[in-house]
Amino acid sequence: MAQVVLKNVNKLYGPVQAVRDVNLSIYDKEFVVLVGPSGCGKTTTLRMIAGLEAISSGDIAIDGQVVNDLAPMDRDIAMVFQNYALYPHMSVFDNMAFGLKMRKFDRREIAKRVADAADVLGIGELLKRKPRQLSGGQRQRVALGRAIVRHPRVFLFDEPLSNLDAKLRVQMRVELKKLHQRLGTTAVYVTHDQVEAMTLGDRVVVMKDGEVQQEGEPLELYNRPANKFVAGFIGSPAMNFATVTMVDGSGGLAARNGGMEIAVTAGQAERLRGHVGRQLTLGIRPEDLRVADGVEPAGLTFSSRVEVIEQLGSEILLDVRVGDDTMVAAVDPAVRVRPDDTLRLAVNPQRLHFFDARTERAI
């Protein structure tokens, strides 16, 4: 049980800054997910916590103890790697027992702990097998087992599910969540998959170009993204963006461009008044768009032309053209449309996002 604190952590590879001024407090028993596109510094950050990469500057503390110069073995952490990193010449039992043997546990304790972990993960029958005789999912479990037998202070996961097929990944995701709820060990999890981040994390940290863009609970990130990058990264399908100009018309404040004019609610108007006449980026999530039924006020609908229809069963994704912009709308599966149809779409006025066109920060 431990908390992990990163203070002004930087990592430089020659002139390249892989991680820039990361400040992060991970509380005891918390499951924190670092998410971002490849090359954003998330894995480097994790490896610095593990002690596999030296820190260029800053401090990392586990349970109040600064561990900057501590070897990986002395940090009392366990890590699960993307390629599992099972020792190919050892049986499953020996793979799981290796860490305990290195720490000089006595034999009976090792056997008991391995049996317990195997029991939790349902790999009791596999203990005598070699890694090459296991399927991808089984290897993943063994890698997890190897991490949990040691009862470490912190679990570190480096994209552990990305080598599994889609179905197994969803299944293992649920199991990981259950495992964490059961063991309650502090966990730091790295992924590039925002769905994994949203479903697993108590808290999600979005990174880009070595910097933390935003940290918060999953829904906070979804509902109130701090900038355009987070808004576009969290949520699937991704948020639609359109460049608009704020105008102060007869019906109050509105966002206008070549294809639409959308009235802004009173609550948002206050924040946006200072931006009248300036260009902003408007963000609308696909799920906040629906087919207009004719009763909405004029300022909340706009006309679009259907380009592509993606039928998902539970909903339909429509790729539509609005003026010069392309947008995706997730609409009710009962809607009947065909390509090239003209369609009026309505927006949910409470759920409009505005970003500064230059700094890309949320307004």
Binding site: A50, A78, A85, Y87, H89, R146
Partner: protein
């Protein structure tokens, strides 16, 4: 296997295969047949009526017996075995550690050093034996097995280092990182994880090194002079060719017996050896 008509299989598979087999096995057949033919048949002129170089009607063990009783062949075998084993072990130990260091430890000029080591392997032995002879003489090692045990590594260590470096690079880094997180020091991670995983590579490096030292000729010829110190390749050629008289039967018997240990080593380790060359690490 090639699919399709029977003639295709013959043309594209069996015939080329037969040709290669003949090509590769004929020298061995020639050694065997020469080693067991009586002198009367061996030295029969080519234009005599019953001349037949490919077959014998009176096989004999005389040459083998002669080789073992009249020459120091058994001693040469023992010398060669001892020298090849010792220099292989020395070279493997150095090569494994050096290869690991070059592949895994981040230190300045690691890449340049790796290339440098490889270049030393390219220096021909026929050049290197001249300065080495001076050193051997200065340390009074001439005419002892140590003259070879200590000079063979000059070409075996670069070879083993290069091979092991490539092999260690193919072993996923995460295995070692995982071991270090699991509580192993770098030394323990290497000993318990990396070296066991690299055994196919170590075996193939070892087999190569053993074969190279077993067959080595120049150093053995230059640094050893007493008949009882010689190795098989030098002993056989220097003691069984007297002037312009070739004792073909014994020469071939010596070559045959001398190639047996290498053949055994190859066939015994062939599975590891092949997987070592392809660098396969199963994850």
């Amino acid at each position: 296997m090639i699919e399709g008509a029977r003639w295709k299989r013959w043309v594209f598979f069996y015939l080329p295969m037969a040709f290669f087999l003949l090509f590769l096995l004929f020298p061995f057949y020639w050694m065997v047949i020469t080693a067991i033919r009586p002198d009367g048949e061996l030295y029969r002129p080519w234009n005599s009526i019953n001349y037949n170089p490919f077959w014998t009607t009176q096989p004999t063990w005389d040459h083998v017996r002669g080789l073992l009783e009249e020459t120091l062949f058994a001693t040469w075998m023992w010398n060669t075995m001892f020298i090849a084993m010792a220099s292989t072990v020395i070279s493997l130990v150095c090569g494994v550690f050096a290869g690991y260091a070059l592949a895994r430890l981040n230190f300045p000029f690691a890449g340049g050093l790796g290339t440098g080591i490889f270049i030393t392997y390219l220096v021909p032995q026929t050049l290197l034996f001249i300065p080495l002879a001076e050193i051997i003489r200065n340390y009074s090692l001439g005419d002892t097995p140590w003259a070879l045990i200590l000079t063979y590594p000059t070409f075996l260590i670069p070879f083993c280092t290069w091979l092991m470096m490539g092999y260690f690079k193919a072993v996923p880094k995460e295995l070692e990182e995982c071991a270090r997180i699991d509580g192993a020091s770098r030394w323990q991670a290497m000993l318990y994880i990396i070296i066991p995983v690299a055994i196919p590579g170590i075996l193939s490096a070892g087999i190569f090194a053993f074969t190279l030292s077993w067959n080595e000729f120049i150093y053995a010829l230059v640094f050893l002079s007493s008949p009882d110190q010689k190795t098989v390749p030098v002993g056989v050629t220097s003691e069984l060719i007297r002037g312009d008289v070739f004792f073909w039967g014994q020469l071939m018997a010596g070559a045959l017996l001398g190639s047996i240990p290498v053949a055994i080593a190859y066939s015994f380790f062939v599975e590891h050896y092949v997987s070592g060359l392809t660098g396969s690490v199963k994850g």
